[in-house]
């Protein structure tokens, strides 16, 4: 499958994530959109990794070219998991205080 399709898919996912963050006010949805962006990047990394590795696979099945991108993906997944735990905790606290998860309530520090 041509790499270009992966790229289009990732761009689409990432754009959905960005637009979601920009337009939605529900904190949980914003959060999910951020996850979407992270995973779009992960997908792209894996796709490129496979592309480079696959080009050399026939001659050298033990080649490690492009493998490091997949290591990156794991890192990102770990960071994302940590982020989710902190972020959800914040959202829970926010809900307890305001009985709402509307992101516009977060402008209370203004003035």
């Amino acid at each position: 499958m041509p790499i270009l399709n992966y790229i289009y898919l990732c761009l689409t996912l990432f754009s959905i994530g960005v637009i979601g963050v920009l337009v939605r006010r529900n904190a949980i949805i914003v959060f999910m959109c951020i996850e979407l962006m992270l995973n779009a990047v992960n997908l792209l990394l894996v796709a490129f990794s496979k592309m480079y590795n696959g080009a050399t696979f026939a001659n050298a099945p033990t080649s490690t070219i492009g493998i490091d991108a997949q290591i990156f993906v794991f890192f990102i997944m770990v960071v994302a998991a940590a982020e989710v735990s902190v972020g959800l905790a914040i959202i829970v606290m926010m809900y307890r205080n305001t009985h709402s998860v509307d992101i516009n309530f977060l402008n209370r520090l203004k003035n």
Partner: protein, 638 residues
Amino acid sequence: MKVIIGFIILWPFVGFLFNGLGRNVWSKKTVAFKATGYILASFICSILAFIQVQEQGAISVHYFDFINTSSLTIPFDFKVDALSSLFLLVITGVGTLIHLYSTAYMHEEEAPHYARYFAYLNLFIFSMLLLVLGDNFVIMFIGWEGVGLCSYLLIGYWFSNASFNYAAKKAFIMNRIGDLGFLLAIFWLIVKLGTVSYGEVFTAESLAKLSSTDITAITLLLFVGAMGKSAQIPLFTWLPDAMAGPTPVSALIHAATMVTAGIYMITRANMLFSASELTQHVIAIVGISTALLSATIALKQNDIKKVLAYSTVSQLGYMFLGLGVGAYSGAVFHVITHAFFKALLFLGAGSVIHAMHHEQDIRKMGGLKSKLPITHITFLIACIAIAGVPPFSGFFSKDEILAAAFAKSPIYWALGVIGAAMTAFYMFRLYATTFLGQFRGTHEQEHHLHESPFAMTLPLILLAVASAIAGALGIPALMGGNHWLSHQLIPIIGEAHEAHLSHETEWILMGVSVTIAVIALLIAVSRYKKQADEEPTSTLGKFLYNKWHIDELYNNAIVEPLNKMSGFLKETIERKVIDGAVNGTGKLVQYGARQIRLIQSGQVGYYILFMVLSLVLMIVLWFNDIAILRFLFKLTQK
């Protein structure tokens, strides 16, 4: 000798510190006693120094180096020679009498102000002594500035009166204009010769180093300084206004100190002045014009002190005429005789004003002859002396100047005689209006008329004696005298510069000037012995009464444009341009900040939007690289 000369100048300074610092402590009696005593002590030291000079010739003493750099050394030296010892005697002698007189004249003042007055007076004498004693131009300049300062302080002594303050400021500013000329002359000398000491400047070698342009410029600049201090055209208007000060101060300024500084300086620098023909002409012309101008003004004034003030300006004009025609000893002679009779006139006027309870208008006086006998007699002697009637002192000195003027140019002489006739006329107009005829003041004033106390009449009597006999200092050769004074001054001014006239010519000149003066004074007495001058009605009379409108002219030509320019600079340049630029910068920043602040709305969504937009922008700018474009293009080709 070093100590005695030091003490001449130290005594008045001690008096200044004593009275100035202790003005709230000492009683009026202590202040008066000490202030007068210090000047008297200074006078005694001056006599000792004078005797020493007579025996040994000039004395120079070195105290310390005032300025010492690699290329220029200005020592703090004093020099007492024939010229400065004479000036010392006049300054401290007349100064002592004026101090004595002031103790009684100022008795109405509060103790602190009384002490302040005497502190200024002592400082005045101190500055003048410094001016005279200094052995170089810089020390002279310090004293020169000092007398300017003291005249400012004393003219504005009654500082609660705004117009007196104005007069004080006028005196100070006019003097400063002159001082600038003097200062430039000093700089010029330093640049050309690298020294300002008299002993080094007034030598043939130094003179040879200066081009004729240098000499003319230096002497003209020095003369500008003398113009300011000695009240010559065009800087003379401060002197009549200086009448705002107490009367003894006027006597001090006009007779013993201050105005004679210019004469002293030019006589001191006579070697330079004689070397410049042009400067001499300028001095003679300015001198005679001043003499005539102020004499005409004095004809119509009704304030007793104003008449005397203009007469001082006029007499100073004569002295400058003498300097201009090379009669340096004549000018110094006139300084000395003038010091006596002008101090006497002012102190006499002070006595009249004192008796009249601060009335100065001579039209409200009259008939004071019997009420103030001592003042009357002494005033009369002074008037005769200034009018130039022999054998009183003014005759000899004025005649010497006029004879020298004739030798230079008969026109100077003729103008001088006209001036002398006017002098005789206005002085006797003043005398007759004040002392003869009927009393024209109020009854209350008449009731209070009284002769002044002894402390005031004693100086009058002493000065009257001096005015009468001071001519003996310079009896010319044709009258059988040997002219002691000009012999005295030979070390400073050399042998007489002026051409010698035949004895017949001198007798004729003398006869003519005396006859004219006597006729003028007789006319004045006969005209004014019955009634005072009316308000002037003729155009000329009004013109003279208003002092040729010179004050108005200066006001319109110099003061007003300056005020306008300052106003323009203040209102337009300062307020609008400079303040506008400074405030504008501040306002611009504030306005900009207020607009930019709106972006920070607190809405998280907007922040993210900006983040995204700027990331996109960054990517477009940063990754707009041909290598990346080629990579993307290659991907699409697969």
